[in-house]
Amino acid sequence: MTAISLRGARLSYGDRVLWDGLDLDVEPGEFLAVLGPNGSGKTSLMRVLLGLQPLSSGTVSVAGGNHAIGYIPQQRALDQSMTLRGRDLVGLGLDGDRWGLGLRNRHERRVRVNAAIESVGATPYADKPIGLLSGGEQQRLRVAQALVGDPTVMLCDEPLLSLDLANQRVVSELIDKRRREANTAVLFVTHELNPVLPLVDRVLYLVGGRFRVGTPEEVMNSRTLSELYRTPVEVVRLRDQILVIGAGACEEQTHHLTAEAAS
């Protein structure tokens, strides 16, 4: 069964069309990277899949519905004095959306939370105040929080942003491990394709209402990106990295070398 399915999906705010005629099937175990400049509708796509944003037209379905989604947000600075431990954060991923105090099945809950923490190697710091942990440690716990509910789909909203290279690798490998072991579909929104390039099966590239879906080879080439951006864009493969050199096509993207080329 398809994990995520969009048919003729259109999203517009007034006259502004973010995307239209989007047909997309993500299979179980598939890793789909969603790329595009700011404002191209990456976050809106995520909101649509989470059921927070209705489509202007077309249909969307996620296998198992909202409860089957594990969501990993961006790392952001947490209040240092926050009364919250990693273990509490993970527990919220399991039953934070249920009504009541949740006094029953405490034992089973603890076992599942511990297992999720263990699976990301966060046991040594799971009981420390979360505000005192490093960004990498916090993101590992975010992965555990998404996994503890046993998701069939993982939606990752720039989970590597503001992490150093070593932690980017750790976090993306944890996500990859999950999809291999449990056949979980991964939809991974990112500015930066290179850290996850070895894991990516397909790319959805959104630019100004246009989009292209395909393997990294099919999408990340000069011809396709030039068509999408409607301006000459040069794509260079350097070892196992993809470098996109655009004529100011999307200056805010770190993996686009516009800034460096201009200076």
Partner: protein, 271 residues
């Protein structure tokens, strides 16, 4: 009279029961209020409770009901008007100032005993009678019951709103419901410590507890204990010397806070 003679008086016993109930409610709500950064909102709500109480005094209705109405209206107003986080501070400031001014106007128009006037601002727990107590207990039970029902989603929405939204938690609706719960609790506290000092019960104990533990459950338990010590202890300490209850409640509460800050600082250095 000795302390023991004083403790046998009906109004003292009523006051102690009222304080104990309030300590429980304030202690349980406190960690949420601190996490959600609502200290100023609580203060604003309490000023509107004062306005409501003053209006009730003027109209000859029970002050408790007036305070309750005032703070619930305030809670809903704040919830509706401050849709954006950045608006909240200024919306509270505007409403608070207006409410306080209206309250003062109504007190000026009131021809009755003047003790009642200051009671609303600075507390008059010994003035709590048995009907007030009944209202207090019923309201408290209602607040705790609603809180128990929304506990997990509210906690989720308070500490991790982005992910809570992704799981379908009605973050916005919960924040209005919680504001109303805080409004009710504030109205009740106003009668004990007065509008100006509500924070001593609603914020300080929780802020103290959260200094020394990162466990949400332990923080809540400690917050309740601290609020009880402050509320009940403050009354007991005030009886013999005949000092204002609110002064001692806030003093006890603040001492606990200072101690917890110290303990927290030591914990951090060592661990």
């Amino acid at each position: 009279m000795t302390l023991f003679d004083l403790l046998e008086l009906d109004f003292v016993q009523t006051a102690l029961i009222a304080a104990a109930v309030l300590g429980l409610v304030a202690g349980v709500l406190g960690p949420f209020i601190v996490t959600r950064k609502m200290a100023f909102a609580v203060h604003g709500t309490s000023e509107l409770a004062f306005t409501g109480g003053a209006a009730a005094l003027l109209l000859g209705i029970g002050v408790g009901y007036g305070a309750l109405a005032g703070s619930i209206i305030a809670a809903v107003l704040l919830g509706v008007l401050s849709r954006r986080e950045s608006d909240r501070d200024s919306v509270i400031g505007a409403i608070l100032a207006f409410g306080l001014g209206m309250g003062i106007l109504m007190l000026a128009l009131y021809k009755g005993r003047s003790a009642n006037k200051f009671g609303l601002l600075t507390g008059q727990i010994v003035g709590v009678d048995s009907t007030d107590l009944k209202l207090l207990v019923v309201s408290s039970v209602a607040v705790l019951a609603v809180l128990a029902f929304i506990y997990r989603p509210l906690f989720f929405a308070s500490v991790d709103p982005d992910v809570a939204v992704s799981r379908g938690v009605p973050v916005r609706g919960l924040s209005i419901v919680f504001a109303v719960l805080v409004g009710v609790a504030t109205a009740l506290s106003v009668q004990v410590v007065g509008a100006l000092l509500v924070l001593a019960l609603m914020i300080t104990p929780a802020a103290a507890a959260m200094r020394i533990t990162a466990s949400p459950l332990r923080a809540t338990v400690l917050s309740v204990v601290f609020a009880e010590v402050a509320a009940v202890g403050g009354i007991l300490l005030s009886l013999q010397p005949g000092l204002p209850v609110s002064a001692l409640v806030t003093a006890v509460s603040f001492v606990i806070y200072l101690v917890c800050r110290g303990v927290g600082a030591v914990q951090r250095r060592s661990g």
